[in-house]
C-alpha cells in the first residue's frame, strides 16, 4: 500500500479546502471591517461637525444678544439721560439682571471722554480718555465693536462690547465690559472625552479661551494654526505623534475660530473593539476550517485507502480463483489422460489373470508368483484410480456451486491431498470426525480451498515432527453451525501479529514463498459462505483455527 501517495493526496485536499474557504472568509472579514470602519469614521466626523456648528451657534447667539441688548439701551435712552450715573446704574442693574456677564457699563462721548461709568473700577476709569485707543477708532468707524479677550489692568480675561449712537450731530458710545468666563463655559461644553479639547482663537491665532491641553488663555495654542479657517471643516491631523480629529468653524462676529479637538483613538474605541472581535471570530473560523479540512481529508483518504485495499484483495481473490480454476482444469485433464493407460493396464492384468486360470499355467511352478504379481498390479491400478477420480472431482469443484456437502468427506479428501507432504516431513495429522453431523448446503470447492489453506499453513507452521489435530463437530451453542477445528502444536502467533492475521497481504513468510493472501482469502470465503473463521494462539503453545459453517 502506497501510503506516501495518500499522504500527498491528503495534503492536497487540505490545501485546496483551506484555500477556497479561507480566501472568501478573509475577503468577507476585511471588506466588512473596512466598510464598518469607514462608516464609523464618517459618523464621528459628522458628530464633530455638528458639535462645532452647535457651539458656534450658541456663541454667535450670545454675542448677538449682548449687542442687541446694548443697542436697545443705547437707542432707547438719550445721552442726557445716561450721563446721569444714577440712571445709568439703574439701567446697568436691569441689564445685569438679565445677564451676569456684564462687568461694567460706560458712556463715552465722541471726543473719547468717559462721561459716565457704572462698575467696580469707577475711580480708575472715570477719568480715562479713550481717544487714542484702537477700539475707540474701530467702534467710531463700524458702529459696533467686539474686542478680543484681554486681561487689562483687571488681570482677569474680559472683552469689550461697544455701540455708537448718533444723536443729532453728536455721536456717543455705549461700552460694556463682559466677563469672558461665560464664553469659556459655552466652549468647554465641547470638550468631550478624556483627551478632547475645545477653544477659541482670534485671527492672530491667540487663544481666546483657556484650553484644556493646548495652552492657557492669550497664549498661542500648541495645535496647528486654524485662524484662517473658512467654513466648517473636519479633518484628521497627526500632531505630537498622535492622530487627532479637528473640527473648526469660524464665527461671523467676532472674527474668531472655534477649534474642537478630539482624540481619534478614544473616539474609535468601539471600532477597535469591533476589530478585536472580528479578528477573534476570524481566528475561530480559520481554526474551525483547518480542523474540519484536516478531519475531512483524513476520513476521505482513510476511506480511499480502505477501498483500495478491498479492491486489491478482491482482485487477488479473483486472480486466485482464476488460478484455482485453471489448476482444476489441468488436474482434470491430467487425470483423464492417465485414466486411459490405466484402463489398458487394468485390462491387460485382468487378461493375464484370466489366462492364469487355464490348466497348463496353473500347473506352472511360479503360478503363485504370477497370481501375486497380477493382484498387486490390480491393487496399484485401483490406487491410481482413486487418485485420478479425486483429481477429477477436485477439478469439477472449481466452479462455484451449491451442493449438499458432507463436510467430513471434503475434509478427509483435503487431508489426503496433503498427507503425502506431511508424511515427508514426519508431521502427524490426527483426524477426529464426528460421524453424524448434518450435511450442509454450501460450495464444496470453496470450503476445500479454505481447508487446504489452513492445513497447508499448519504444515508450514509446525515444522518437522509436528502434530496437527483436525476435528469436526456440531457447534455447542445453537446447533445451527458445524465447526472444523484445525490445531497445530507449532510456535504460535504473537498477539500483535494475531490482530493482523486476516488482513490482505499480511505475511510472515518471505516475500517469495507467500502472497500473504491465504488467510485473507479464507476469511472472505468463509464470510461469503455465511460462516466465519476464528483463531486462537499462544506463543509456544500452538495455534488453533476454527471454521464455522452454517447449517441451513
Amino acid at each position: 500500500m502506497d501510503t506516501r501517495h495518500f499522504q500527498v493526496l491528503r495534503v492536497k485536499i487540505v490545501a485546496v479546502t483551506l484555500f477556497f474557504s479561507l480566501v472568501p472568509l478573509f475577503a468577507l472579514g476585511i471588506t466588512i471591517y473596512h466598510e464598518f470602519s469607514a462608516s464609523y469614521r464618517s459618523k464621528i466626523a459628522a458628530a464633530a461637525r455638528s458639535l462645532a456648528q452647535n457651539r458656534r451657534n450658541s456663541l454667535e447667539l450670545f454675542f448677538r444678544e449682548r449687542i442687541s441688548q446694548l443697542t436697545t439701551v443705547a437707542r432707547t435712552d438719550t445721552l442726557g439721560q445716561l450721563r446721569d450715573e444714577n440712571y445709568l446704574t439703574k439701567v446697568f442693574n436691569v441689564m445685569q439682571a438679565q445677564s451676569k456677564s456684564y462687568i461694567d457699563l460706560g458712556v463715552i462721548d465722541q471726543d473719547g471722554n468717559h462721561v459716565a461709568y457704572v462698575g467696580p473700577y469707577h475711580e480708575k476709569l472715570k477719568s480715562v480718555n479713550y481717544a487714542e485707543a484702537d477700539w475707540f477708532h474701530a467702534v467710531m468707524a463700524a458702529g459696533v465693536y467686539v474686542s478680543d479677550v484681554f486681561l487689562g489692568f483687571r488681570k482677569s480675561p474680559h472683552l469689550i462690547l461697544a455701540v455708537t449712537v448718533v444723536e443729532g450731530n453728536t455721536t456717543w458710545i455705549l461700552r460694556a465690559t463682559i466677563n469672558s468666563e461665560i464664553i469659556e463655559e459655552v466652549v468647554k461644553e465641547a470638550q468631550v472625552g478624556r483627551q478632547g479639547d475645545a477653544f477659541l482663537i482670534n485671527k492672530n491665532n491667540i487663544l481666546q479661551t483657556a484650553s484644556r491641553f493646548s495652552g492657557s488663555i492669550l497664549d498661542r495654542p500648541s495645535t496647528p494654526d486654524f485662524s484662517a479657517a473658512v467654513g466648517t471643516r473636519v479633518e484628521e491631523i497627526e500632531y505630537a505623534g498622535q492622530e487627532f480629529l479637528f473640527a473648526t468653524t469660524p464665527l461671523t462676529y467676532p472674527k474668531w475660530v472655534l477649534v474642537i479637538k478630539e482624540d481619534t483613538r478614544e473616539e474609535l474605541t468601539p471600532l477597535l473593539h469591533a476589530r478585536y472581535m472580528a479578528a477573534l471570530i476570524l481566528a475561530g473560523g480559520v481554526l474551525l476550517v483547518v480542523v474540519a479540512s484536516i478531519l475531512t481529508s483524513r476520513s476521505m483518504t482513510n476511506e480511499l485507502m480502505r477501498v483500495e485495499r478491498e479492491k486489491a484483495s478482491a482482485d487477488e481473490l479473483l486472480m486466485h480463483s482464476g488460478k484455482m480454476a485453471a489448476l482444476g482444469k489441468m488436474a482434470a485433464g491430467v487425470a483423464h489422460e492417465i485414466n486411459n493407460p490405466l484402463q489398458v493396464i487394468s485390462e491387460k492384468a485382468g487378461w493375464m489373470s484370466d489366462l492364469l486360470k487355464s490348466e497348463e499355467i496353473a500347473a506352472s511352478e511360479n503360478f503363485e508368483e504370477f497370481q501375486d504379481c497380477i493382484k498387486k498390479i490390480e491393487r496399484q491400478v485401483e490406487r491410481c484410480r482413486s487418485i485420478t477420480h479425486r483429481m477429477l472431482r477436485f477439478g469439477r469443484r472449481m466452479e462455484p456451486t451449491q451442493d449438499m456437502v458432507d463436510v467430513n468427506l471434503v475434509l478427509s479428501e483435503t487431508v489426503s491431498f496433503l498427507e503425502n507432504e506431511a508424511h515427508h516431513r514426519d508431521i502427524t495429522i490426527n483426524v477426529e470426525y464426528e460421524n453424524d453431523i448434518p450435511r450442509v448446503t454450501t460450495d464444496a470447492s470453496q470450503l476445500q480451498q479454505v481447508f487446504l489453506n489452513i492445513i497447508d499453513n499448519a504444515i508450514d507452521a509446525v515444522g518437522d515432527f509436528g502434530i496437527i489435530n483436525v476435528r469436526t463437530g456440531v457447534s455447542n451453542g445453537s446447533g445451527r453451525e458445524l465447526f472444523v477445528e484445525i490445531a497445530d502444536n507449532g510456535p504460535g502467533i504473537p498477539k500483535e501479529t494475531l490482530k493482523k492475521i486476516f488482513d490482505p497481504f499480511f505475511t510472515t513468510k518471505s516475500t517469495n514463498s507467500g502472497t500473504g493472501l491465504g488467510l485473507s482469502i479464507s476469511h472472505s470465503i468463509m464470510q461469503k459462505l455465511g460462516g466465519r473463521i476464528t483463531v486462537e494462539s499462544e506463543t509456544g503453545q500452538g495455534t488453533t483455527f476454527t471454521l464455522y459453517v452454517p447449517v441451513l
Partner: protein, 137 residues
C-alpha cells in the same frame, strides 16, 4: 449372459483388444472397433445387444456415434465409457438414450454387471414392443 452380443468402441487399441478377449473368455459374443465410424460400418452387417462406447475419441466422438447408433438401431443399448471427469457428457449421453455411463478405469466385473443390466432392459423393451407390434427389426 450366453449369446449376449457386445461391441466395444474405444480409440485405445490395446484396451479394445484385451477386453474383447476377456469378454469372449466369459462366454460373450464380443467384438471391438477403434473408431465411431468403424462401429457404424460394422452395425450395417451385424447386430449387437449392448455397445460399450468411449466418449472421447478422435474425429467422431462418442456422443455423435451414440446419436447415429440410436438413429439406426434404437433398441441397441449403449453404455458410455468416460475417462473425462465431466458429468455433463455422461448426462448428455443419458439424454440421448444411453443406458448408463461408467468412469474409466472400470474393473471388468463392474462392466459386466452394467452390460448384463443393459441387456435385461433391452429384452424387456423388445418384449413390450414385440407384443404391441409397432416396431419390427
Amino acid at each position: 449372459m450366453e449369446n449376449l452380443r457386445v461391441l466395444v468402441v474405444d480409440d485405445e487399441e490395446d484396451f479394445v483388444e484385451t477386453i474383447v478377449k476377456r469378454l469372449k473368455g466369459r462366454g460373450l459374443q464380443a467384438a471391438g472397433v477403434t473408431s465411431g465410424q468403424d462401429a457404424l460400418d460394422l452395425l450395417e452387417t451385424r447386430d449387437f445387444d449392448v455397445i460399450v462406447l468411449d466418449v472421447k475419441m478422435p474425429r467422431m466422438d462418442g456422443i455423435q456415434t451414440l446419436k447415429e447408433i440410436k438413429k439406426r438401431k434404437p433398441l441397441t443399448e449403449v453404455i458410455m465409457l468416460t475417462g473425462h471427469g465431466s458429468v455433463d457428457s455422461g448426462i448428455k449421453g443419458l439424454q440421448l438414450g444411453a443406458y448408463n455411463y461408467i468412469m474409466k478405469p472400470v474393473p471388468l466385473d463392474e462392466l459386466l454387471k452394467q452390460v448384463g443390466q443393459a441387456y435385461e432392459r433391452k429384452l424387456i423393451e423388445e418384449g413390450r414392443l414385440g407384443s404391441t407390434g409397432t416396431v419390427s427389426e
